[in-house]
Amino acid sequence: MLAQDPAHPQADDVTLLEQAHAGNRDAFTALVARYQAPVFRYLRTLTRTPQEAEDALQQTFLAVWRSLLPDSGAGKRGEGSVRAWLFTIARHAAYRQGRRHAGEPDTLESLESLGERAGWGEPEDPERVAMLLEDRERLHAALARLSDDDREVILLRDVEGLSGEDAARVLDLPLANLKTRLHRARLRLRAALQQEVRHEG
């Protein structure tokens, strides 16, 4: 059982990683305990089944462990947070599991057209919109209607709270492209919620 390690309650990610790199297994265990659930949630977005997500989860942390071995030659994390590094490894593991869609190109719908589908320029009842946003089920239904790529960028930035730079690293995109993808994904989510309003009306 990977319980939170009481020896490392406050240790920051970089310290844990350095200790793990120096051969401290407890530090590695603490790092796994800290990130296994967020990494699994991310992998659930990227894979078709819970089993694939679980397999990718195991591959992720095995890859992390191997990268920490002195002779691996892969111990260098590079730029960005430990969290982004873990998510990047997880993403590669998900690809090996046969990810649902491999980065299909965004449609060429103009931002204005997308905005209009999202309710830009339409009079709306603010109370109704507020109610809609507090309806967890409906928000999840709208998220489920998005493409995998849209859901992924929203998860990384708005749920996991990765910085733009870190999310761009995980997705292997230039920062400007990441920002565009995020904005369009958020607009499509708003459009999906808008559809919910219309269905209700």
């Binding site: 059982m1 990977l2 297994r25 796994v32 296994q36 659930a37 967020p38 699994f40 949630r41 679980e54 989860l57 195991q58 942390f61 095995l62 462990w65 191997r66 931002l111 204005e112 905005g115 209009e116 999202a118 309710g119 830009w120 320029g121 709306e124 603010p126 919109v129 507020a130 946003l133 507090e134 967890r136 928000l139 999840h140 998220l143 929203i154 998860l155 930035r157 708005d158 749920v159 709270g161 733009g164 920002k179 995020l182 904005h183 958020r186 989510l189 708003r190 919620l193």
Partner: protein
């Protein structure tokens, strides 16, 4: 958009383009000031921008909790013990 207007040095469609960067604190101060000047005097953009911001906040608030089923965690531990 109907009623597209230039307020504060920006057209409504330009504000639409900048909304996420504004929310994420990634605009240069002059552009940030322009967006704020626009939405303070454009009811449509004020409404849509506020709505959009609330949605982004709601996504984080209502996210599925990051939870790992106990059996998945146990099998991960076992896999790591085997793999080490």
């Amino acid at each position: 958009m109907k009623g597209e207007q230039n307020v504060g040095g920006l057209w409504c469609h330009q504000v639409l383009t900048l909304l996420s960067d504004y929310l994420d604190g990634e605009l240069a101060s002059e552009q940030k000031r322009q967006v704020e000047a626009h939405v303070s005097r454009c009811q449509q953009c004020e409404r849509f921008g506020g709505d959009f911001a609330r949605m982004v906040q709601a996504v984080a608030r209502h996210a599925e909790p990051a939870e790992l089923p106990e059996d998945v965690s146990r099998r991960l531990t076992e896999a790591l013990q085997r793999g080490r």
